[in-house]
Protein backbone atom coordinates (compact mmCIF):
# COMPACT_ATOMS: atom_id res chain seq x y z
CA UNK A 1 0.00 0.00 0.00
CA UNK A 2 2.95 2.31 0.46
CA UNK A 3 4.37 1.46 -2.92
CA UNK A 4 3.62 4.84 -4.40
CA UNK A 5 5.31 6.75 -1.63
CA UNK A 6 8.78 7.70 -2.77
CA UNK A 7 10.25 6.63 0.56
CA UNK A 8 11.34 3.22 -0.54
CA UNK A 9 11.85 1.37 -3.77
CA UNK A 10 9.47 -1.28 -5.04
CA UNK A 11 9.27 -4.31 -2.81
CA UNK A 12 9.79 -7.14 -5.24
CA UNK A 13 11.47 -9.96 -3.38
CA UNK A 14 10.57 -12.27 -0.56
CA UNK A 15 13.11 -10.64 1.73
CA UNK A 16 12.29 -7.01 0.97
CA UNK A 17 9.35 -6.89 3.34
CA UNK A 18 11.48 -8.07 6.26
CA UNK A 19 14.04 -5.37 5.63
CA UNK A 20 11.36 -2.73 5.36
CA UNK A 21 9.70 -3.92 8.55
CA UNK A 22 12.88 -3.42 10.53
CA UNK A 23 13.45 -0.14 8.73
CA UNK A 24 10.02 1.13 9.69
CA UNK A 25 10.54 -0.03 13.25
CA UNK A 26 13.80 1.87 13.38
CA UNK A 27 12.21 4.93 11.79
CA UNK A 28 9.53 4.94 14.47
CA UNK A 29 12.06 4.37 17.22
CA UNK A 30 14.34 7.11 15.91
CA UNK A 31 11.42 9.43 15.35
CA UNK A 32 10.33 8.87 18.91
CA UNK A 33 13.83 9.42 20.28
CA UNK A 34 14.32 12.58 18.23
CA UNK A 35 10.96 13.89 19.28
CA UNK A 36 11.66 13.16 22.92
CA UNK A 37 15.09 14.75 22.91
CA UNK A 38 14.14 17.75 20.81
CA UNK A 39 11.02 18.39 22.88
CA UNK A 40 13.06 18.26 26.03
CA UNK A 41 15.63 20.65 24.61
CA UNK A 42 13.00 23.10 23.42
CA UNK A 43 11.05 22.92 26.65
CA UNK A 44 14.19 23.35 28.78
CA UNK A 45 15.45 26.14 26.57
CA UNK A 46 12.23 28.09 26.95
CA UNK A 47 11.37 27.17 30.50
CA UNK A 48 14.88 27.75 31.85
CA UNK A 49 15.97 30.63 29.71
CA UNK A 50 17.91 33.22 31.56
CA UNK A 51 15.68 35.43 33.65
CA UNK A 52 16.65 38.09 36.14
CA UNK A 53 16.51 36.91 39.70
CA UNK A 54 16.71 33.20 38.97
CA UNK A 55 19.96 31.29 39.17
CA UNK A 56 20.77 27.90 37.74
CA UNK A 57 20.31 25.01 40.09
CA UNK A 58 23.46 22.91 40.31
CA UNK A 59 22.75 19.20 39.94
CA UNK A 60 25.64 16.82 40.29
CA UNK A 61 24.14 14.00 38.30
CA UNK A 62 22.37 10.78 39.05
CA UNK A 63 23.91 7.36 38.85
CA UNK A 64 20.49 5.75 38.69
CA UNK A 65 19.56 7.85 35.68
CA UNK A 66 22.89 7.18 34.00
CA UNK A 67 22.51 3.45 34.41
CA UNK A 68 18.96 3.63 33.16
CA UNK A 69 19.84 5.48 30.00
CA UNK A 70 22.77 3.18 29.36
CA UNK A 71 21.10 -0.15 30.01
CA UNK A 72 17.72 0.53 28.43
CA UNK A 73 19.18 1.67 25.10
CA UNK A 74 21.60 -1.25 25.17
CA UNK A 75 18.63 -3.59 25.61
CA UNK A 76 16.84 -2.00 22.68
CA UNK A 77 20.02 -2.14 20.63
CA UNK A 78 20.34 -5.84 21.26
CA UNK A 79 16.80 -6.35 20.00
CA UNK A 80 17.68 -4.46 16.83
CA UNK A 81 20.88 -6.47 16.51
CA UNK A 82 19.10 -9.81 16.76
CA UNK A 83 16.40 -8.68 14.36
CA UNK A 84 18.93 -7.37 11.86
CA UNK A 85 21.11 -10.45 12.21
CA UNK A 86 18.09 -12.67 11.62
CA UNK A 87 17.31 -10.92 8.34
CA UNK A 88 20.95 -11.07 7.35
CA UNK A 89 21.11 -14.77 8.06
CA UNK A 90 18.18 -15.35 5.76
CA UNK A 91 19.71 -13.15 3.10
CA UNK A 92 22.95 -15.07 3.30
CA UNK A 93 21.55 -18.59 3.30
CA UNK A 94 20.39 -19.59 -0.15
CA UNK A 95 17.87 -22.44 -0.26
CA UNK A 96 19.54 -25.70 -1.25
CA UNK A 97 17.58 -26.17 -4.44
CA UNK A 98 17.89 -22.61 -5.70
CA UNK A 99 18.57 -22.32 -9.40
CA UNK A 100 21.91 -20.78 -10.11
CA UNK A 101 23.07 -17.86 -12.19
CA UNK A 102 26.72 -17.18 -12.74
CA UNK A 103 27.79 -13.57 -12.91
CA UNK A 104 31.08 -12.17 -14.07
CA UNK A 105 31.53 -8.46 -13.46
CA UNK A 106 34.07 -6.41 -15.31
CA UNK A 107 34.77 -2.76 -15.92
CA UNK A 108 32.00 -1.77 -16.69
CA UNK A 109 29.40 -4.41 -17.38
CA UNK A 110 27.61 -7.37 -15.90
CA UNK A 111 27.83 -10.68 -17.73
CA UNK A 112 25.25 -13.15 -16.57
CA UNK A 113 24.91 -16.80 -17.50
CA UNK A 114 21.98 -19.02 -16.79
CA UNK A 115 22.57 -22.69 -16.09
CA UNK A 116 20.49 -23.40 -19.15
CA UNK A 117 23.10 -21.57 -21.20
CA UNK A 118 21.45 -18.21 -21.84
CA UNK A 119 23.89 -15.36 -21.67
CA UNK A 120 22.88 -11.82 -20.89
CA UNK A 121 24.67 -8.54 -20.53
CA UNK A 122 23.46 -5.94 -18.03
CA UNK A 123 20.11 -7.66 -17.99
CA UNK A 124 18.83 -10.47 -15.89
CA UNK A 125 15.59 -12.30 -16.58
CA UNK A 126 14.12 -14.30 -13.75
CA UNK A 127 10.72 -15.82 -13.12
CA UNK A 128 8.48 -14.87 -10.24
CA UNK A 129 8.58 -17.24 -7.30
CA UNK A 130 11.79 -19.09 -8.02
CA UNK A 131 14.75 -19.09 -5.62
CA UNK A 132 17.71 -17.76 -7.52
CA UNK A 133 21.24 -18.03 -6.27
CA UNK A 134 23.87 -15.76 -7.77
CA UNK A 135 27.45 -16.96 -7.94
CA UNK A 136 29.55 -13.94 -8.72
CA UNK A 137 33.10 -13.02 -9.45
CA UNK A 138 34.93 -10.12 -10.99
CA UNK A 139 37.64 -10.18 -13.56
CA UNK A 140 39.21 -6.88 -12.51
CA UNK A 141 38.31 -4.70 -9.52
CA UNK A 142 35.72 -4.98 -6.80
CA UNK A 143 32.15 -4.40 -7.93
CA UNK A 144 28.93 -4.78 -6.03
CA UNK A 145 25.71 -6.37 -7.22
CA UNK A 146 22.84 -4.27 -5.96
CA UNK A 147 19.14 -4.58 -6.70
CA UNK A 148 17.31 -2.08 -4.49
CA UNK A 149 13.92 -3.64 -5.19
CA UNK A 150 15.20 -6.92 -3.77
CA UNK A 151 17.10 -5.22 -0.92
CA UNK A 152 20.14 -7.29 -1.77
CA UNK A 153 23.69 -6.19 -2.23
CA UNK A 154 26.85 -8.20 -2.39
CA UNK A 155 30.33 -7.12 -3.31
CA UNK A 156 31.76 -8.99 -6.26
CA UNK A 157 35.43 -9.70 -5.76
CA UNK A 158 38.15 -10.68 -8.15
CA UNK A 159 39.75 -13.99 -7.32
CA UNK A 160 36.87 -15.69 -5.56
CA UNK A 161 33.16 -16.29 -5.68
CA UNK A 162 30.66 -14.52 -3.54
CA UNK A 163 27.01 -15.43 -3.47
CA UNK A 164 23.65 -13.84 -2.96
CA UNK A 165 20.12 -15.03 -3.45
CA UNK A 166 16.59 -13.76 -3.86
CA UNK A 167 13.11 -14.88 -4.72
CA UNK A 168 11.32 -12.34 -6.88
CA UNK A 169 7.70 -11.85 -5.97
CA UNK A 170 6.43 -9.23 -8.36
CA UNK A 171 6.81 -8.97 -12.14
CA UNK A 172 8.43 -5.80 -13.32
CA UNK A 173 11.66 -4.23 -14.40
CA UNK A 174 14.01 -3.18 -11.62
CA UNK A 175 17.32 -1.39 -11.37
CA UNK A 176 20.54 -3.30 -11.16
CA UNK A 177 23.34 -1.09 -9.86
CA UNK A 178 27.03 -1.49 -9.29
CA UNK A 179 27.36 -0.19 -5.76
CA UNK A 180 31.10 -0.40 -5.22
CA UNK A 181 33.12 2.29 -6.92
CA UNK A 182 34.97 0.64 -9.80
CA UNK A 183 36.43 3.41 -11.97
CA UNK A 184 35.46 5.80 -14.74
CA UNK A 185 32.10 4.38 -15.78
CA UNK A 186 31.03 3.14 -12.36
CA UNK A 187 27.71 4.94 -12.71
CA UNK A 188 27.29 3.44 -16.18
CA UNK A 189 27.60 -0.09 -14.84
CA UNK A 190 23.89 -0.38 -14.40
CA UNK A 191 21.37 -2.73 -15.81
CA UNK A 192 17.99 -4.15 -15.11
CA UNK A 193 16.41 -7.18 -13.60
CA UNK A 194 13.33 -8.30 -15.49
CA UNK A 195 11.00 -10.33 -13.35
CA UNK A 196 8.51 -12.31 -15.44
CA UNK A 197 5.59 -14.62 -14.89
CA UNK A 198 6.85 -18.23 -15.11
CA UNK A 199 5.11 -18.84 -18.44
CA UNK A 200 6.62 -15.74 -20.01
CA UNK A 201 9.95 -16.70 -18.59
CA UNK A 202 9.82 -20.13 -20.20
CA UNK A 203 8.99 -18.44 -23.48
CA UNK A 204 11.91 -16.10 -23.08
CA UNK A 205 14.18 -18.98 -22.17
CA UNK A 206 13.30 -20.97 -25.25
CA UNK A 207 13.46 -17.92 -27.48
CA UNK A 208 16.97 -16.93 -26.60
CA UNK A 209 19.98 -18.06 -28.53
CA UNK A 210 21.52 -20.65 -26.31
CA UNK A 211 24.58 -22.59 -27.22
CA UNK A 212 24.05 -25.49 -24.89
CA UNK A 213 23.83 -25.52 -21.13
CA UNK A 214 26.53 -24.00 -18.97
CA UNK A 215 27.58 -27.42 -17.74
CA UNK A 216 27.88 -28.84 -21.22
CA UNK A 217 29.95 -25.83 -22.26
CA UNK A 218 32.07 -26.49 -19.23
CA UNK A 219 32.40 -30.09 -20.27
CA UNK A 220 33.81 -29.18 -23.65
CA UNK A 221 36.31 -26.85 -21.97
CA UNK A 222 37.12 -29.75 -19.67
CA UNK A 223 37.92 -31.81 -22.75
CA UNK A 224 39.80 -29.05 -24.56
CA UNK A 225 42.11 -28.33 -21.64
CA UNK A 226 42.83 -32.00 -21.29
CA UNK A 227 41.54 -32.18 -17.73
CA UNK A 228 39.87 -35.42 -18.62
CA UNK A 229 43.15 -37.27 -19.06
CA UNK A 230 43.80 -37.23 -15.32
CA UNK A 231 40.40 -36.60 -13.76
CA UNK A 232 38.71 -39.81 -14.80
CA UNK A 233 35.67 -41.19 -13.23
CA UNK A 234 37.41 -44.38 -12.10
CA UNK A 235 39.73 -43.83 -9.15
CA UNK A 236 42.94 -44.89 -10.92
CA UNK A 237 43.34 -41.45 -12.55
CA UNK A 238 46.30 -39.31 -11.66
CA UNK A 239 43.89 -36.71 -10.40
CA UNK A 240 40.93 -37.16 -8.06
CA UNK A 241 37.68 -38.43 -9.44
CA UNK A 242 35.39 -35.44 -9.70
CA UNK A 243 32.07 -37.24 -9.80
CA UNK A 244 30.06 -36.48 -6.71
CA UNK A 245 32.67 -34.43 -4.93
CA UNK A 246 30.85 -31.11 -5.00
CA UNK A 247 29.64 -30.02 -1.60
CA UNK A 248 31.40 -32.94 0.09
CA UNK A 249 34.30 -32.69 2.55
CA UNK A 250 37.71 -33.40 1.05
CA UNK A 251 40.66 -34.74 3.00
CA UNK A 252 43.84 -32.84 2.09
CA UNK A 253 47.41 -33.99 1.94
CA UNK A 254 48.37 -31.91 4.99
CA UNK A 255 45.55 -33.31 7.07
CA UNK A 256 43.09 -30.46 6.74
CA UNK A 257 39.51 -30.98 5.69
CA UNK A 258 37.81 -28.61 3.30
CA UNK A 259 34.39 -28.52 1.74
CA UNK A 260 34.51 -28.73 -2.05
CA UNK A 261 32.51 -25.58 -2.76
CA UNK A 262 32.74 -23.22 -5.71
CA UNK A 263 35.70 -21.36 -4.24
CA UNK A 264 37.58 -24.60 -3.62
CA UNK A 265 37.06 -25.80 -7.20
CA UNK A 266 38.09 -22.40 -8.47
CA UNK A 267 41.25 -22.39 -6.39
CA UNK A 268 42.07 -25.97 -7.36
CA UNK A 269 41.96 -25.03 -11.02
CA UNK A 270 43.90 -21.79 -10.74
CA UNK A 271 46.39 -22.78 -8.07
CA UNK A 272 46.23 -26.56 -7.72
CA UNK A 273 49.06 -26.91 -5.24
CA UNK A 274 47.30 -24.81 -2.61
CA UNK A 275 45.08 -27.64 -1.39
CA UNK A 276 46.16 -31.05 -2.66
CA UNK A 277 43.80 -33.95 -2.07
CA UNK A 278 45.18 -36.71 0.09
CA UNK A 279 46.75 -39.49 -1.90
CA UNK A 280 47.56 -37.39 -4.95
CA UNK A 281 50.71 -35.67 -6.08
CA UNK A 282 50.86 -31.93 -6.81
CA UNK A 283 51.44 -32.49 -10.50
CA UNK A 284 48.55 -30.52 -11.93
CA UNK A 285 49.66 -27.48 -13.93
CA UNK A 286 48.66 -24.01 -12.78
CA UNK A 287 45.82 -22.51 -14.80
CA UNK A 288 46.07 -19.02 -13.35
CA UNK A 289 46.04 -16.69 -16.33
CA UNK A 290 45.21 -19.45 -18.81
CA UNK A 291 41.46 -19.64 -18.35
CA UNK A 292 39.05 -16.75 -18.50
CA UNK A 293 36.46 -16.13 -15.83
CA UNK A 294 33.76 -17.39 -18.19
CA UNK A 295 35.63 -20.62 -18.84
CA UNK A 296 36.10 -21.04 -15.12
CA UNK A 297 32.41 -20.51 -14.61
CA UNK A 298 31.73 -23.28 -17.11
CA UNK A 299 34.19 -25.61 -15.44
CA UNK A 300 32.74 -24.98 -12.02
CA UNK A 301 29.23 -25.52 -13.33
CA UNK A 302 30.37 -28.74 -14.98
CA UNK A 303 32.02 -30.11 -11.85
CA UNK A 304 28.90 -29.26 -9.92
CA UNK A 305 26.75 -31.02 -12.47
CA UNK A 306 28.73 -34.19 -11.83
CA UNK A 307 27.30 -34.21 -8.35
CA UNK A 308 23.70 -33.64 -9.30
CA UNK A 309 22.21 -37.12 -9.75
CA UNK A 310 19.55 -36.06 -12.21
CA UNK A 311 21.57 -33.56 -14.21
CA UNK A 312 22.13 -34.36 -17.84
CA UNK A 313 25.78 -33.40 -17.64
CA UNK A 314 26.82 -36.22 -15.38
CA UNK A 315 25.22 -38.81 -17.59
CA UNK A 316 27.03 -37.66 -20.67
CA UNK A 317 30.25 -37.60 -18.67
CA UNK A 318 29.84 -41.14 -17.49
CA UNK A 319 28.96 -42.40 -20.90
CA UNK A 320 31.92 -40.70 -22.45
CA UNK A 321 34.53 -41.73 -19.98
CA UNK A 322 33.51 -45.30 -19.52
Amino acid sequence: MFDNLPLWPARASAGAGNVDALYIFLLLLSGFMCLAIFTMIVVFALRYRRQPGRVAEQIEGSTALEITWSVVPLGIFMVIFVWGAFIFFQERTPPRDASEIYIVAKQWMWKLEHVEGQREINELHVPVGRDVKLIMTSQDVIHSFYVPAFRIKQDVLPGRYTTAWFRATKPGVYHLFCAEYCGSQHSGMIGQVVVMEPAQYEAWLSGGSSSGSLASNGESIFQQLGCVTCHRSESQGRGPNLVGIFGKPVQLEDGRMVIADENYIRESILSPSAKVVKGFKPIMPVFQGLVSEEQLTGLVAYVKSLSAPSAAGSKTQESKVQ
Binding site: S273, A274, V276, P282, Q288
Partner: protein, 232 residues
Protein backbone atom coordinates in the same frame (compact mmCIF):
# COMPACT_ATOMS: atom_id res chain seq x y z
CA UNK B 1 65.97 27.23 22.66
CA UNK B 2 66.22 30.93 22.08
CA UNK B 3 63.18 31.74 24.13
CA UNK B 4 64.09 29.95 27.34
CA UNK B 5 63.81 32.48 30.09
CA UNK B 6 66.10 31.55 32.90
CA UNK B 7 64.01 31.87 36.01
CA UNK B 8 65.34 30.86 39.36
CA UNK B 9 66.04 27.17 39.67
CA UNK B 10 66.17 26.55 35.94
CA UNK B 11 69.28 24.75 34.82
CA UNK B 12 70.75 25.35 31.37
CA UNK B 13 68.97 22.32 29.91
CA UNK B 14 65.58 23.09 31.44
CA UNK B 15 63.12 24.42 28.88
CA UNK B 16 61.08 27.41 29.91
CA UNK B 17 57.70 25.76 30.04
CA UNK B 18 58.66 23.09 32.55
CA UNK B 19 58.90 23.90 36.20
CA UNK B 20 61.35 21.19 37.25
CA UNK B 21 63.99 19.08 35.56
CA UNK B 22 62.17 16.01 36.76
CA UNK B 23 58.97 17.12 35.06
CA UNK B 24 60.87 17.66 31.85
CA UNK B 25 62.52 14.24 31.99
CA UNK B 26 59.26 12.49 32.81
CA UNK B 27 57.60 14.24 29.90
CA UNK B 28 60.34 13.22 27.49
CA UNK B 29 60.32 9.65 28.70
CA UNK B 30 56.52 9.35 28.46
CA UNK B 31 56.65 10.92 25.04
CA UNK B 32 59.11 8.29 23.84
CA UNK B 33 57.05 5.47 25.33
CA UNK B 34 53.93 6.72 23.58
CA UNK B 35 55.87 6.95 20.36
CA UNK B 36 56.97 3.36 20.82
CA UNK B 37 53.32 2.41 21.36
CA UNK B 38 52.60 4.04 18.03
CA UNK B 39 55.46 2.08 16.51
CA UNK B 40 53.99 -1.18 17.75
CA UNK B 41 50.85 -0.44 15.77
CA UNK B 42 52.92 0.70 12.81
CA UNK B 43 54.63 -2.68 12.64
CA UNK B 44 51.34 -4.20 13.76
CA UNK B 45 49.69 -3.59 10.41
CA UNK B 46 52.37 -5.70 8.79
CA UNK B 47 52.24 -8.34 11.47
CA UNK B 48 48.54 -8.61 10.69
CA UNK B 49 49.23 -9.13 6.99
CA UNK B 50 51.96 -11.60 7.91
CA UNK B 51 49.65 -13.57 10.17
CA UNK B 52 46.91 -13.91 7.57
CA UNK B 53 49.18 -14.95 4.73
CA UNK B 54 51.22 -17.27 6.88
CA UNK B 55 48.00 -19.09 7.69
CA UNK B 56 46.95 -19.10 4.05
CA UNK B 57 50.26 -19.89 2.39
CA UNK B 58 52.19 -21.78 5.02
CA UNK B 59 54.09 -23.86 2.47
CA UNK B 60 55.44 -20.87 0.64
CA UNK B 61 56.27 -19.13 3.89
CA UNK B 62 58.12 -22.20 5.09
CA UNK B 63 60.10 -22.48 1.86
CA UNK B 64 60.92 -18.78 1.84
CA UNK B 65 62.01 -19.00 5.44
CA UNK B 66 64.30 -21.96 4.65
CA UNK B 67 65.93 -19.97 1.89
CA UNK B 68 67.09 -17.29 4.32
CA UNK B 69 70.54 -17.59 5.80
CA UNK B 70 69.92 -18.65 9.36
CA UNK B 71 73.56 -18.10 10.28
CA UNK B 72 73.56 -14.48 9.26
CA UNK B 73 70.17 -14.07 10.91
CA UNK B 74 71.43 -15.49 14.20
CA UNK B 75 74.60 -13.45 14.05
CA UNK B 76 72.56 -10.33 13.43
CA UNK B 77 70.36 -11.13 16.40
CA UNK B 78 73.47 -11.47 18.53
CA UNK B 79 74.88 -8.22 17.16
CA UNK B 80 71.69 -6.39 18.09
CA UNK B 81 71.62 -7.90 21.56
CA UNK B 82 75.20 -6.76 22.09
CA UNK B 83 74.25 -3.28 20.94
CA UNK B 84 71.37 -3.27 23.41
CA UNK B 85 73.82 -4.16 26.14
CA UNK B 86 76.16 -1.31 25.19
CA UNK B 87 73.21 1.08 25.13
CA UNK B 88 72.03 -0.05 28.56
CA UNK B 89 75.53 0.31 29.93
CA UNK B 90 75.78 3.67 28.19
CA UNK B 91 72.72 5.00 30.00
CA UNK B 92 74.27 3.77 33.21
CA UNK B 93 77.56 5.48 32.39
CA UNK B 94 75.69 8.73 31.74
CA UNK B 95 73.79 8.37 35.00
CA UNK B 96 77.05 7.97 36.85
CA UNK B 97 78.80 10.74 34.97
CA UNK B 98 81.46 8.53 33.33
CA UNK B 99 81.89 10.50 30.18
CA UNK B 100 84.69 8.53 28.57
CA UNK B 101 82.93 5.26 29.16
CA UNK B 102 79.76 6.74 27.71
CA UNK B 103 81.57 7.84 24.57
CA UNK B 104 83.16 4.40 24.15
CA UNK B 105 79.85 2.64 24.61
CA UNK B 106 78.10 4.92 22.14
CA UNK B 107 80.82 4.27 19.58
CA UNK B 108 80.41 0.54 20.14
CA UNK B 109 76.66 0.84 19.72
CA UNK B 110 77.05 2.64 16.45
CA UNK B 111 79.53 0.01 15.26
CA UNK B 112 77.11 -2.77 16.15
CA UNK B 113 74.31 -0.90 14.42
CA UNK B 114 76.31 -0.44 11.25
CA UNK B 115 77.44 -4.07 11.41
CA UNK B 116 73.82 -5.16 11.61
CA UNK B 117 72.94 -3.08 8.59
CA UNK B 118 75.97 -4.43 6.73
CA UNK B 119 75.04 -8.04 7.37
CA UNK B 120 71.45 -7.25 6.42
CA UNK B 121 72.78 -5.75 3.21
CA UNK B 122 74.73 -8.94 2.48
CA UNK B 123 71.56 -10.98 2.98
CA UNK B 124 69.55 -8.69 0.74
CA UNK B 125 72.21 -8.83 -1.91
CA UNK B 126 72.07 -12.62 -1.83
CA UNK B 127 68.32 -12.42 -2.31
CA UNK B 128 68.84 -10.03 -5.17
CA UNK B 129 71.21 -12.52 -6.84
CA UNK B 130 68.65 -15.27 -6.34
CA UNK B 131 65.90 -13.17 -7.97
CA UNK B 132 63.90 -13.23 -4.79
CA UNK B 133 63.16 -9.52 -4.83
CA UNK B 134 59.43 -9.13 -5.54
CA UNK B 135 58.60 -7.49 -8.82
CA UNK B 136 59.07 -8.22 -12.48
CA UNK B 137 62.26 -10.24 -12.07
CA UNK B 138 60.95 -12.36 -9.20
CA UNK B 139 61.62 -16.02 -9.72
CA UNK B 140 60.86 -18.83 -7.30
CA UNK B 141 61.88 -21.70 -9.55
CA UNK B 142 65.04 -22.36 -7.53
CA UNK B 143 62.91 -22.85 -4.42
CA UNK B 144 60.59 -25.18 -6.29
CA UNK B 145 63.66 -27.14 -7.37
CA UNK B 146 65.32 -27.10 -3.96
CA UNK B 147 62.29 -28.11 -1.97
CA UNK B 148 60.44 -30.65 -4.07
CA UNK B 149 58.63 -31.87 -0.95
CA UNK B 150 56.88 -28.50 -0.55
CA UNK B 151 54.13 -27.34 -2.89
CA UNK B 152 55.09 -23.84 -3.88
CA UNK B 153 53.01 -21.36 -5.81
CA UNK B 154 55.37 -18.65 -7.10
CA UNK B 155 52.77 -15.90 -6.61
CA UNK B 156 52.34 -16.84 -2.98
CA UNK B 157 56.09 -17.12 -2.54
CA UNK B 158 56.30 -13.56 -3.73
CA UNK B 159 53.93 -12.50 -0.97
CA UNK B 160 56.30 -14.01 1.59
CA UNK B 161 59.20 -12.11 0.14
CA UNK B 162 57.17 -8.92 -0.14
CA UNK B 163 56.47 -9.11 3.56
CA UNK B 164 60.05 -10.14 4.29
CA UNK B 165 61.42 -7.09 2.52
CA UNK B 166 58.75 -4.77 3.87
CA UNK B 167 59.33 -5.89 7.46
CA UNK B 168 63.12 -6.09 7.40
CA UNK B 169 63.27 -2.94 5.29
CA UNK B 170 61.16 -0.98 7.73
CA UNK B 171 63.21 -2.39 10.58
CA UNK B 172 66.42 -1.40 8.82
CA UNK B 173 65.04 2.08 8.30
CA UNK B 174 64.52 2.28 12.04
CA UNK B 175 68.09 1.10 12.54
CA UNK B 176 69.37 3.82 10.22
CA UNK B 177 67.42 6.43 12.14
CA UNK B 178 68.77 4.93 15.35
CA UNK B 179 72.36 5.10 14.13
CA UNK B 180 71.81 8.70 13.11
CA UNK B 181 70.35 9.48 16.50
CA UNK B 182 73.27 7.87 18.29
CA UNK B 183 75.76 9.74 16.17
CA UNK B 184 74.08 12.92 17.35
CA UNK B 185 74.22 11.71 20.95
CA UNK B 186 77.87 10.76 20.51
CA UNK B 187 78.70 14.23 19.27
CA UNK B 188 77.08 15.85 22.29
CA UNK B 189 78.57 13.31 24.67
CA UNK B 190 82.02 14.16 23.45
CA UNK B 191 81.22 17.78 24.20
CA UNK B 192 80.29 16.68 27.69
CA UNK B 193 76.67 17.67 27.57
CA UNK B 194 75.35 14.66 29.44
CA UNK B 195 75.94 13.78 33.04
CA UNK B 196 74.10 12.70 36.17
CA UNK B 197 72.12 15.95 36.08
CA UNK B 198 70.97 15.63 32.51
CA UNK B 199 70.97 12.41 30.55
CA UNK B 200 67.40 12.36 29.21
CA UNK B 201 68.42 12.24 25.52
CA UNK B 202 70.63 9.20 26.16
CA UNK B 203 67.85 7.57 28.09
CA UNK B 204 65.10 8.07 25.54
CA UNK B 205 67.48 7.34 22.66
CA UNK B 206 68.20 4.09 24.47
CA UNK B 207 64.49 3.32 24.78
CA UNK B 208 64.15 3.69 21.02
CA UNK B 209 67.15 1.47 20.37
CA UNK B 210 65.90 -1.27 22.67
CA UNK B 211 62.53 -1.13 20.99
CA UNK B 212 64.09 -1.67 17.58
CA UNK B 213 65.94 -4.60 19.12
CA UNK B 214 62.66 -6.05 20.46
CA UNK B 215 61.10 -5.80 17.01
CA UNK B 216 63.99 -7.80 15.62
CA UNK B 217 63.66 -10.34 18.42
CA UNK B 218 60.22 -11.09 16.96
CA UNK B 219 61.14 -10.72 13.32
CA UNK B 220 63.89 -13.31 13.65
CA UNK B 221 61.68 -16.31 14.51
CA UNK B 222 58.79 -15.04 12.40
CA UNK B 223 60.85 -14.75 9.24
CA UNK B 224 63.79 -17.15 9.66
CA UNK B 225 62.42 -19.95 11.79
CA UNK B 226 59.01 -20.65 10.27
CA UNK B 227 59.83 -24.22 9.41
CA UNK B 228 63.36 -25.55 9.73
CA UNK B 229 62.67 -29.09 10.78
CA UNK B 230 64.06 -31.81 8.53
CA UNK B 231 61.96 -32.31 5.43
CA UNK B 232 60.29 -35.67 5.33
Amino acid sequence: MSDSTATSGHGPELLHHFSTAEQQRDAASLGMWLFLGTEIMFFGGMFCAYLIYRLWYFNEFAAGSRSLDIWLGTINTIVLICSSLTVALGVRAAQMGKRKLLVTLLVLTIIFGVAFLGIKGVEWYAKYKEHHIPGASFDASDLIRDYPQIHIDPAHEQIYFSLYFAMTGLHALHMIIGVGMFTYLLYHSMKGRYGPEYYTPIEIGGLYWHFVDVVWIYLFPLLYLIDRKPLG
